[in-house]
Amino acid sequence: MFHWLEQRPFFFAVMLFLTVAFAGFIEIVPDFAKASQPVVGKKPFTVLELAGKQVYIKDSCNACHSQLIRPFKSETDRYGMYSLSGEYAYDRPFVWGSKRTGPDLHRVGNYRTTDWHENHMMDPASVVPGSIMPKYPHMFTNIADLATAYANANTQKSVFGVPYDAKGMTKLGSWKEAKAQALEDAKKIADEMKNQTVKDEVAAGKVPEIVALIAYLNSLK
C-alpha cells in the first residue's frame, strides 16, 4: 500500500492530511461549546481595562508572567484560588503565558494596589529588590488607545455575543459614552497615583498606558 501511495502524490497527500488532521478533530471539537461558558457573575472587561490588556499584550507581559494558577497547594497558597475555565470566557486572546520568569498574575488584583504598580512599573527593583524585570517608564508617557479598546469591546459584543449592556453587566454604549466612562474610571486610578504628568494627562482627557494597565491588573481577581 505504501509503495502504491508513494507513486501517487495526490492520494499520498490526501492520506497524509487525514492522518494529521484526525487528532485535532477529536481533541478540539467535543468540548468546545462547554469550555466557553462564563462562571456565574463574570462581567466583561470595561473599555479602560481592555485598553490595559492591550498594553499588556503590546509589551508582551505574558512572555514572563502566567495567568493560570494550577490546582496545587503550593500555587493556591502563593497566588490564591486555582483558575477555572469559566473565568476566561471573555479573554480574547487568552494570556495564560507559558513561562514564569516573574510570578503568576491571574489574581494579582487581590493583593497588589495601584500605588504598588505605579512604583513597580517605573522601577521594579525599588519595590522588589533583586527583581530582573525591565523598567517601563514609557508607559507613563505613551497614551493608551481607547478607540481600539472600544472597537475591541464592540467586536466582542457584536460578533461573539459577549453580554455588554445586558442587565447587571458592563456598560458599553456608543463610542462617546464609552470614552466618557473610561475617562471617569481613569480619573479614579489617577487620583490614587503620585506621578504628576499622569495626573495632568488624565485631567486633559488623555489616558496614559500605565493607568489603563493598572485598571486591567486591578481587575484580575
Binding site: 485535532g24 508582551s60 494550577r70 497558597d77 475555565s85 486572546p93 510570578p103 514609557h138
Partner: protein, 490 residues
C-alpha cells in the same frame, strides 16, 4: 541516474533562500543572546527605551529564528532537494520559476515587516502566531505559492516514486497550512469600531479563554513539529546519505517512522496544558501520546545513525558528517526529554520553568541549527560550484557550538529544576519556604552561563556565515559536481 546527466538544475531560488537563512539566523540568534544576558543583567533591558525590553524583543527572537532562519533553510533545501529527487529543473517551467521567485520575495517582505511590527508592539500575543492579521494574510499567500511550486514540481517529475524527503516536506506544507489557518482565525476590530478612530492593525481571536489556549497549543506544539521536525528530517534523509555515500539503512523503518509521526504528533499538543482548565481527558491524551512519540522520533534518528554503519571513520574525517550525526543525536536527546517533561508529575515541576526553554534549545540549536547549517554546507559546492572555503574553520565552529549547546541546556536543566522545587518547598510550619524573588535571584549564575553558551553558538554562526561567504566568492572553482563528500580546502 542516466537521465540525470543532461539535467541542469536551477539554483537561483536556492541561493536567495540561502542568503536569508544566514541573514535571519544572524538577526534572530543575536537577539537571542541579548535576551539571555538581559535575564542575567537586567540593566541591559533598558538601553533602548521601550524598544529594547526583554518582553518586546522576545517575539522577534522566536519569530526570527523559527520563521526567518529555519523556514528560509527549509525553503532553500526544498528547492534543492525537490528538483534533484524529482528529477526536474525549475528552468524547465517558466511558470514555476516565477512562482518560486514570488514566493521568495513575498516571504522576505513578510519577515521584514514582522520585525518592524513586533518591535512596535503590534502583536496578537499568541506564541509563534504573534503577527497581526494583515501579515497573516501575506503568510497565507506565500504559503500557497510554496504549495503551488511543490505540487507543480511533483507533477513534472521524472522519478515515479517520491522520495522520503518529499513526504516530509509535503507533510510540513499540509500540516502548517491547517494549523496556521485555524489558530490565526481572528476578527479585525476596526470593522466594528462604530465611529471610534481605532487601529486598523488590531484583531481579536475567534476563540475565547480555554478554547483559545487549546487551539493555540494544538498549533504551538505542532508548529514545532512541522517546522522544527519534519522538514529537518527531510533534510537529513537526503543530505546524510548523499554526503556519506551510504544508502539509507531501512526503507521499512522510514515508512513506519513517517506514518507513526504523522499520526501521533498532533495529539501531543495537550502536554502544554497539563493542570490547566482544559478537559482532563485531553491532558491525559496529550501526556500519553507524547510518550508514544518516542517511537517514531527515534525510528528516524536510529535509521540515520545506522545509515553510517561501517562508515563511522567519516565522523573523524568530515566535519560535515559530524554536524549531521550530532544533529541526529540531539534529536534523540530532545525527543526523549520532551516526553519526560510531558509526564504529568514531572510537568508539575518543569512547567513554567527554564527547563522548557532548555528543552527547546537542545532541539533547535542542536538538531535544527546543525542540520540546516550542514545542509547549506553540503549544497554550497553544488550551487556555487566552488570548494568549501575552510575545513578547519568548520571544525572549530562545530566544537565551539557543541560546547555552547551543552552549556545552554545543562544550565537550564539546573535552573528549571531548582526553581520548580523551590516554588513548592514548605517549611516545618507548613508555610511556603521561599518568596518568588528568592527563586529568581538563585538563577543568576545559570542565566549567565546560558548567555555564554548562547554567545559561543552565535560566534560559531558568524564563522558559518563567513565560511559560506568565502566559499561563494573565493572558494576554488570546481570543474565538475562532487558525487558525495563535499570538497573542502583545509
Amino acid at each position: 541516474m542516466q537521465s540525470n546527466a543532461q539535467l541542469e538544475y536551477d539554483y537561483s531560488v536556492v541561493k536567495m533562500f540561502t542568503f536569508t537563512t544566514i541573514l535571519f539566523g544572524i538577526i534572530g540568534m543575536l537577539i537571542g543572546v541579548i535576551l539571555a544576558f538581559q535575564l542575567a543583567f537586567p540593566e541591559l533591558s533598558n538601553l533602548f527605551g521601550e524598544y529594547g525590553t526583554f518582553s518586546r524583543l522576545r517575539p522577534i527572537h522566536t519569530n526570527g529564528v523559527a520563521f526567518g532562519f529555519t523556514l528560509s533553510g527549509i525553503f532553500a533545501t526544498w528547492y534543492y532537494v525537490g528538483q534533484r529527487t524529482l528529477k526536474m529543473s525549475l528552468s524547465e517551467s517558466p511558470f514555476l520559476m516565477k512562482v518560486a521567485k514570488l514566493h521568495f520575495w513575498l516571504y522576505f517582505i513578510t519577515i521584514l515587516l514582522a520585525v518592524v511590527t513586533l518591535i512596535l508592539g503590534i502583536t496578537t500575543s499568541k506564541e509563534y502566531a504573534e503577527l497581526e492579521w494583515p501579515l497573516d494574510l501575506l503568510v497565507v499567500v506565500w504559503w500557497v505559492l510554496w504549495g503551488v511550486a511543490m505540487f507543480g514540481m511533483i507533477g513534472m517529475r521524472r522519478e515515479r516514486a517520491i522520495y522520503v524527503s518529499i513526504w516530509y516536506f509535503m507533510s510540513s506544507f499540509l500540516a502548517v497550512a491547517m494549523l496556521y489557518l485555524f489558530n490565526n482565525m481572528e476578527v479585525p476590530t476596526f470593522l466594528w469600531s462604530g465611529d471610534a478612530p481605532s487601529s486598523i492593525m488590531h484583531s481579536i481571536s475567534m476563540y475565547a479563554g480555554t478554547n483559545d489556549a487549546l487551539v493555540q497549543w494544538w498549533y504551538g506544539h505542532n508548529a514545532v513539529a512541522f517546522v522544527f521536525t519534519t522538514p529537518i528530517i527531510a533534510m537529513i534523509y537526503y543530505f546524510l546519505p548523499k554526503e556519506s555515500g551510504q544508502p539509507v539503512f531501512s526503507y521499512k523503518l522510514s515508512v513506519l517512522a513517517f506514518w507513526g509521526l504523522m499520526f501521533v504528533y498532533l495529539w501531543a499538543g495537550g502536554h502544554h496544558l497539563l493542570y490547566s482548565t482544559v478537559p482532563d481527558w485531553m491532558q491525559t491524551m496529550g501526556s500519553a501520546m507524547s510518550v508514544v512519540l518516542i517511537l517514531p522520533s527515534w525510528g528516524s534518528a536510529i535509521n540515520m545513525l545506522l545509515t553510517m554503519k561501517g562508515e563511522w571513520q567519516q565522523l573523524q574525517t568530515s566535519p560535515l558528517i559530524k554536524f549531521m550525526i550530532m544533529a541526529s543525536t540531539f534529536y534523540m536527546l530532545s525527543t526523549i526529554e520532551g516526553p519526560i517533561q510531558a509526564i504529568k508529575s514531572v510537568n508539575a515541576i518543569a512547567h513554567f520553568t527554564d527547563w522548557i526553554p532548555g528543552h527547546v534549545h537542545d532541539g533547535t540549536l542542536g538538531w535544527v541549527g546543525f542540520m540546516v547549517m550542514a545542509s547549506l554546507y553540503h549544497m554550497a559546492p553544488r550551487i556555487y560550484k566552488r570548494e568549501i572555503y575552510s575545513k578547519s574553520l568548520m571544525e572549530t565552529q562545530f566544537w565551539l557550538q557543541t560546547v555552547g549547546i551543552v552549556l545552554y541546556f545543562t544550565s537550564m536543566w539546573i535552573a528549571g529544576i531548582t526553581q520548580g522545587m523551590m516554588w513548592r518547598a514548605y517549611d516545618e510550619y507548613g508555610s511556603l519556604l521561599y518568596s518568588f524573588i528568592d527563586t529568581v535571584e538563585v538563577l543568576h549564575p545559570y542565566y549567565t552561563l546560558r548567555g555564554i553558551g548562547g554567545l559561543f553558538y552565535l560566534i560559531g554562526f558568524f564563522m558559518f556565515a563567513f565560511n559560506m561567504y568565502k566559499t561563494a566568492t573565493s572558494g576554488r572553482v570546481l570543474d565538475k559536481e562532487p558525487a558525495n563528500a563535499s570538497p573542502m580546502a583545509s
